[in-house]
Assembly symmetry: C2
Homo-oligomer: 585 residues x 2
């Protein structure tokens, strides 16, 4: 490719609405152009990246036996009504009507349409397993689209859906996809972790996220440096402490803590570590009658160590929480506890309030908690002595760095990640809702066991940039760079030797399989180098008249700060040593 | 590819709503699946065809210097309001609102967004010419979607947009695209014609349609078998007759024609050829004031030979018709002509009615027309003698087979076609509307000269099938077949020799570049052959135990009715002689 025949558009400044580095650099390097909030044109330079990402995904999905199809962008509401998602999904689902007033949605995913295909096309167990995938434009009407392609509204996703005859088959399909995802992410050339994720109401451990490591990532990734344990924050289990509960050493004292309603304030006032305090969180669950009217409300008191955070996913799995929970109102709290929030605690709690202690809290002694009286806390609180043992002890908190690893092989560390992929066992959720069955070995109609598997195609370049950039711009991994190597000739217009060598090297490297671009725009060296460093092409070869007189060109990797002189007739073998992507010497 | 690892779904019957053969065969062969009216899933077998079509288009567009990008499906109304198309485009434009109540459209094409890109990214004449293209999902909310992919609502289109600094540049860009389209359509392997089309108000001859020839096509293609003249029916010019007007031989007679209000009826009644009659069509144009209120109505009397049809595009170009016309109401006609329609004619017409005679009518003598009196026609009518020469003589009719070719090289013939591509010079229509300018050589802001170029990607397989099918199913051209060659083993499960040879040939042909599928499903020969004949794979190799004992396999092209025995060790060279696509022996 010659730069003069391509479209290159770089900017010194990023637009004001670009908050994160990937958004800024994608705009400055001309990879994308904003059309509306969260809606972008993929410009020629950016589309090359997407095409490479798509090609890798397609190859590995095909290799794993998945079969590509393309489902429509605009889907009729009927299917979405069958699963309840048309009404249930909220404003993220973009709804519209056609000229006849019929309801449609713009697909955010395609479970409904693919399940409809299965129920009419997959009639016998003999046709199973099948895994259909598509690489297709999706839309989610985010309330606050931001960060460029990181949280856009229109985006491209690879979504795959497996259909199996039984749970064992679905597990095998899941494992096949998991391996394919590892192959895909390995090929992208990004640092990533496959982390266990919550699998929702279905249970089991068949849910993993593929997180690209980046300091700016939205997600906390929990991992054990001494083993291969990795999970997201919702999923990572906080083990029960190994040490038993110490014996009480302090008396129970009702202590004035005027105006100190947080654990931090109380710990500071009393000059104790935050880990000596216990926080109280009051939740409510409701029983509804057939008309959806609340007929009973149950209050819950959750106890967490002062420095710990509640994990809503774990709480949502407690017995009695299956249908969801909410935070209790101040009125409900005052009525039940006789105190406003900030001074609550488990001593003297009304018998109809369910008390749940986090595992960590259950082994604390001499702790501090609210006294259910404004401006007072208890110190020296001890289970069994000052209050009954907790009715329920459970893991209801987020893990923190230093916690024991659930696999018993060390302690946990935390890093930040960007979710790029998700493999998920769906079970019969959609096949039941849409009554999608096949005939099993005995001729009996049986619901499909399903899995779904997504990769955020347009989000991937953003994550790659968050992970790989410096003050000069993007640093692409070879496999997904818009171009693998750029030839920068100095004085193209003045020197026939430079022009001839540049053209010859371009043609030679292209013939040898390198995705090469020759910058024949006639820019000055400074501007030319700055462009390609901003765009982030990983390999650069500079040709100058002076160099050629010495039989040399200069090579520099985007991560290097200085060029290396290379004999021009050794260049190809030198590039092969640098593992230039695609090069077949 | 092994059939057992792919998804094959064929049907004996087409659904009841499939009216045309391509729709029936695409459904029966499992290429597409209906999701809603005019909205389809491209099933794995169909998607392979689309991917091949897209690859050919992409290669040739890139070769022609066009640059690929991807514009969004969901586009903000603001751009469409700038060009007036948001309000003006009618219900085919699918409109929707996001969660904040902002207006959007689903793109039917992308002139607005690409022009917005140009006005901010293309700042100088030095950046021109540029041609941006995309291969992207589109939506047109057709009132009556039908014929499967032939007139769908959601479809894939390749749309390209060129930007030039002046008309000469735009003409050059147009010619480049025209050549690229010829290369693309040549590679598809379909019989097609590039036909001149009407270029609307812009004038000039820079509009051509690429029509795939098919007896079932919606469009009439006019061509000259003795030259390369080809045009669509709107465009094809009807030359003035060479022979001069004959001298009058009959007297003018007012003849009773009770109840005979059509030329056909009058000709039959009077026992004269239809070509002796003249039909009268009354049109109206309106003058509006600034508030859009009609302040004046002009009536027009158009005269056509009885066997000819009015061409609305040609009529719309008459001086005075620039702002559109409508058919006059019966009330207007009676008031102006003193007779109801069916008995109108040019004799004694009120002076304020503009009379336009078709070129053919202008040289008629002794003709028959209405007498402006119910149940009466004139016979023996002659220009100059019985009525004044027509105020305006123009080409206002559709050509018919046998008309003189406009290039003077023979007579015209007509065949049917399906429009698959269109190249079109846009001029400054969109750049003016959106004030999209660049700085010219003198630093002066100048509107871009634009062109647009479309190919209906998803419509193409339907057109290919309309052109290439028989009673057994589809017959794909090699380049866009879902698979190029199928290996059908007989008794795969019974014979190790058959299995081994089938596998070996599959691997060998795949390695030599053939897109081959091995049918290892274990179907009986009849069902297996019927499937592949329905699907339309062009080349078939049958391997049987008996054949192998004689060292032979059977080859049959989809168009052949009998197989040919080929020595198994000569197969590759034999296939090379059959020009099997992709084969590098």
């Amino acid at each position: 490719m010659k730069a003069s025949q391509f479209f290159i558009s770089t900017y010194k400044e990023a637009p004001a609405d670009a908050e994160v580095v990937s958004h800024k650099l994608m705009m400055r390097a001309g990879l994308i152009r904003r059309v509306s909030a969260g809606i972008y044109t993929y410009m020629p330079m950016g589309l090359r990246v997407l095409h490479k990402v798509e090609a890798i995904i397609r190859e590995e999905m095909n290799r794993a036996g998945a079969i590509e199809l393309t489902m429509p962008m605009i889907q009729p509401a009927e299917f979405w009504q069958e699963t309840g998602r048309f009404a249930g999904m909220g404003p993220e689902l973009l709804r519209l009507q056609d000229r006849h007033g019929r309801d449609f949605v713009v697909q955010p995913t395609s479970e409904e349409v693919v399940t409809d295909i299965a129920r009419s096309e997959l009639r016998s167990y003999k046709q199973l397993p099948v895994n259909f995938y598509q690489i297709q434009t999706k839309f989610r009407d985010e309330r606050r689209p931001r960060f460029g392609l990181m949280r856009g509204r229109e985006f491209i996703m690879k979504d795959a859906y497996s259909f199996d005859k039984d749970v064992a088959g679905a597990q095998a399909s899941y494992q096949t996809m998991r391996q394919a995802y590892r192959a895909i992410f390995d090929r992208f050339g990004l640092r990533y972790r496959a982390v266990a994720a919550d699998s929702g109401a279905i249970g089991g451990d068949l849910s993993e996220e593929f997180q690209v490591i980046a300091a700016t990532g939205e997600d906390a990734i929990i991992y054990c440096p001494d083993s291969d344990y990795a999970a997201n924050i919702e999923k990572a289990e906080a083990l029960a402490p190994r040490a038993p509960r110490p014996a009480p050493t302090q008396p129970l004292v009702k202590t004035p803590t005027p105006g100190k309603s947080t654990c931090e304030d109380v710990a500071q006032l009393l000059q104790v570590p935050l880990t000596s305090t216990v926080k109280s969180i009051v939740l409510a669950t409701e029983e509804l009658d057939a008309q959806g009217v609340v007929v009973a409300t149950q209050l819950w008191l959750l106890l967490l160590r002062g420095d710990h955070a509640m994990n809503e996913v774990k709480v949502g799995k407690l017995p009695g929480m299956e249908n969801g929970f909410r935070f209790a109102s101040e009125g409900e709290i005052v009525a039940a506890f006789g105190s406003k929030p900030g001074y609550l605690g488990p001593i003297g709690v009304r018998a109809d309030v369910k008390v749940v202690a986090d595992r960590e809290v259950a082994v604390m002694a001499d702790f501090i908690c609210g006294a259910n009286a404004e401006d007072f806390h208890y110190t020296g609180v001890n289970w069994g002595r000052d209050l009954p043992e907790p009715a329920l002890v459970a893991d209801i908190r987020n893990v923190v760095a230093g916690d024991l690893s659930p696999d018993g092989k060390g302690v946990l560390a935390i890093e930040r990640g960007i979710e790029l992929g998700h493999v998920f066992y769906l079970g019969t959720k959609y096949s039941k809702a849409m009554n999608a069955t096949f005939l099993d070995e005995n001729g009996k109609p049986t619901w499909f066991e399903m899995g779904c598997y997504g990769i955020g195609v347009t989000r991937l370049p953003a994550a790659a940039i968050e992970q790989n950039h410096d003050e000069r711009g993007i640093i692409w991994p070879d496999a997904i760079a818009p171009f693998t190597l750029v030839i920068c000739p100095i004085g193209l217009d003045r020197s026939d030797a430079v022009r001839a060598k540049a053209m010859q090297l371009h043609d030679e490297l292209a013939a040898k399989g390198v995705d090469v671009i020759l910058d024949d725009r006639g820019e000055r060296p400074g501007a030319m180098f700055a462009d390609w460093e901003l765009i982030g092409v990983p390999h650069r070869v500079v040709i100058s008249e002076r160099g050629l007189k010495e039989g040399q060109v200069e090579y520099q990797h985007r991560r290097q700060t200085e060029p290396t002189k290379v004999a021009v007739d050794q260049l190809v073998s030198y590039l092969a040593e640098q593992n230039v992507y695609g090069l077949v010497p």
